[in-house]
């Protein structure tokens, strides 16, 4: 249990979440395509959810379900976010004929 200086299982989950968050952020930052940015954001949201669930599991009052509920609501909200985001991407694509973020920098239609 006490490998690599980690004292509780919680830290392992948190580190995985941090790594996933960083990966998602990197994806959002380095890719050109708007859809990839959205994927990156989804990954970040999921990392946050993992944190929430882990905190719920190892927190002092799991029976209160706070973290769990937070995660479930976050999943629902993330679904809404994905729908709207992808809808926007499709609309932008129809308008500018591209989904590459570098090329979408004008407010004027």
């Amino acid at each position: 249990m006490t490998s690599v200086g980690v004292s509780t299982p919680l830290a392992g989950y948190l580190l995985v979440a941090a790594m996933l968050f960083a990966i998602g952020l990197a994806g959002a930052l380095v890719r050109r395509n708007a859809i990839m940015v959205l994927i990156g954001i989804e990954l970040m949201l999921n990392a946050a959810n993992l944190n929430l669930i882990a905190f719920w599991r190892f927190g002092p009052h799991p029976e209160l379900l706070t973290g769990m509920m937070f995660a479930i609501f976050a999943i629902a909200v993330a679904a809404a976010e994905a729908a709207v985001g992808l809808g926007l991407v499709i609309a932008i694509h129809r308008h500018t004929n591209t989904t590459e973020l570098d090329k979408i920098n004008r407010m004027k239609g």
């Binding site: 930052l29 989804e42 669930i53 999943i75 609309a91």
Partner: protein, 166 residues
């Protein structure tokens, strides 16, 4: 830390990395699905059965499908001519690394204070249901409203612009 945890962590991180690195958008989306699945399994490992299944249902069953649909509708399944990474990719990588460093540091700094606690919480789906329509009924309603609004909004945003009526 069980081997299963390491396996699932590797699956999740691997999926995420593949998602960011793969050239084809569809491949990236499928790799994201792997990451989602890994996360769902991690939830199960954390005794959060309901959240895990909800994750599969929502992310693999809906969000991933949405993403691939969006990819196909924006002709994203072909490779772009001038590379998939933006010109300033190095800067992005540095910032992501910095974020990870700060997060990791924070985790390692603070988990010492957390007591070790491994008793499996006795939480059933019924409890979750009761909590959803009990303590959390207001957020539930708000999320329902949000989902409705988002659905309508997404449809309207993505709909073909009609000819202006004369």
């Amino acid at each position: 830390m069980s081997p299963i945890f390491y396996l699932l962590a590797a699956l999740t991180i691997g999926g995420g990395l593949a998602a960011v690195l793969l050239k084809y958008l569809v491949h990236a989306a499928l790799a994201t699905t792997v990451a989602f699945a890994g996360l769902a399994l991690l939830y199960l490992e954390l005794d959060a059965q309901f959240a895990g299944f909800a994750q599969i249902l929502v992310y693999i069953g809906a969000v991933a499908i949405l993403i691939v649909f969006a990819i196909l509708l924006t002709r994203g399944s072909d490779l772009p001519k001038d590379g998939v990474f933006s010109r300033t990719w190095a800067l992005g990588l540095v910032i992501a690394a910095a974020v990870f460093a700060v997060l990791g540091w924070a985790v390692l700094q603070s988990v010492r204070a957390v007591p070790q606690q491994t008793a499996v919480p006795a939480v059933t789906v019924r409890d979750i249901g009761n909590a959803l329509v009990g303590r959390y009924v207001l957020p539930l309603e708000i999320v329902a409203l949000l989902l409705t609004a988002a659905t309508i909004g997404a449809v309207i945003v993505a709909m073909h612009e009609k000819e202006r009526p004369r």
